[in-house]
Amino acid sequence: MHAAKGNDPRLDRREAMRVLLDRRGEMLLVTGLGSTTWDAAAVGDDARNFYLWGAMGAAAMVGLGLAIAQPERRVLVVTGDGEMLMGLGALATIGVQCPPNLALAVFDNARYAETGMQPSHTDYGVSLCGVARSCGIESVYDITDKAALDDFARLIHTADRTLFARIAIQADEPPRVLPSRDGVLLKNRFRHALGVE
């Protein structure tokens, strides 16, 4: 049953986040608990980033509510495989709604990096791309190299459909870069940046 993927090609997580946020324009970003939050902060703090410091499993749904509320803006959710696995039902909910401005990117290191690198279900063979496709998300990308990542990063800004990408990343722990933990501050500055506060 155990299908170790240690030899698969995998990307550097910080570099992957940098590529996704390069020339982001007006794009809004939601990150999940926890390493993807540090990755986004490492690339550069921004009022249009909403970092989840808790509520594990909620990242994709926060992205859905935001994408529905802001149909003229691109919304990118970047979260980890463990965080996505905790809220798999969200993929079914998003598959029904399919907002054209929403993109989900799951950084998959097949590990719970924050708790000691225990294997996640993806390490045992669960396919997040398969789940997303089965939930009705038609544009699904399994990304293991830089060229495919570059293509996906460009597609986020032009697509007229919900996108899902599983991005294979190395199971390492780059130095933590921690953004503010003040949820009210993060919420209010995000809304100010959007002009809705």
Binding site: M61, V62, I68, A90, Q97, K187, V196
Partner: protein, 178 residues
């Protein structure tokens, strides 16, 4: 027994819908419940409201947070059993002071046939209050609209999560034998 006449059923649910519209609710996340069925239909039929079916109630907390980040107001519809599914996610509402109102149809109380509904139904209010959600309760049809309006008002003026428990006596016990 205890089934309100159909006309009064429609009335209080229409009153709740009017309160949602008056509060400019734009997103409704819901897990279906028989007691919410008319309200769900009204929301689905309204072009200004996006009705989002959820696989589990906890998804609604994230949806409501995202809606508020983007400048829209959201409310959630669920049965009392679903409140238990939301507990950890309510930390999102509390940590960030996301406003939202949860309308809860009660099971496990007046006229309940299924004993498995009782454990969560009897602890629904306590569970919400444990997570600092402000809870109102409706027992009488004529109070439904104004109570929901008050819960929405304080949620969005005060950046709070609020809930309205719609009692099983109000809704009418589920009929198991037809």
């Amino acid at each position: 027994m205890n089934m309100p006449a159909p006309s009064s059923v429609a009335d209080w649910r229409d009153d709740i819908f009017a309160a949602l519209k008056a509060a400019e609710i734009r997103q409704i996340g819901y897990v279906p419940d028989a007691g919410h069925s008319r309200l769900i239909e009204l929301c689905q039929a309204d072009a200004a409201i996006r009705a989002v079916p959820l696989t589990s109630e906890e998804e609604g907390i994230g949806l409501a947070a995202g809606a508020w980040l983007g400048g829209q107001r959201a409310a959630l519809l669920m049965q009392s059993s679903g409140v238990g599914n939301c507990i950890n996610l309510l930390s999102l509402a509390k940590s960030c002071r996301f406003p939202m109102t949860i309308l809860v149809t009660m099971r496990g109380e007046w006229g309940e046939f299924n004993p498995w509904q009782v454990p969560m139904g009897t602890k629904t209010q306590a569970a919400l209050e444990l997570m600092d959600v402000l809870v109102y309760r409706v027992e009488r049809a004529e109070e439904a609209g104004e109570t929901v309006a008050a819960a929405l008002d304080i949620a969005f003026n005060g950046s709070l999560a609020t809930a309205v428990l719609l009692s099983q006596r109000l809704i009418g016990a589920k009929r198991w034998v037809k």
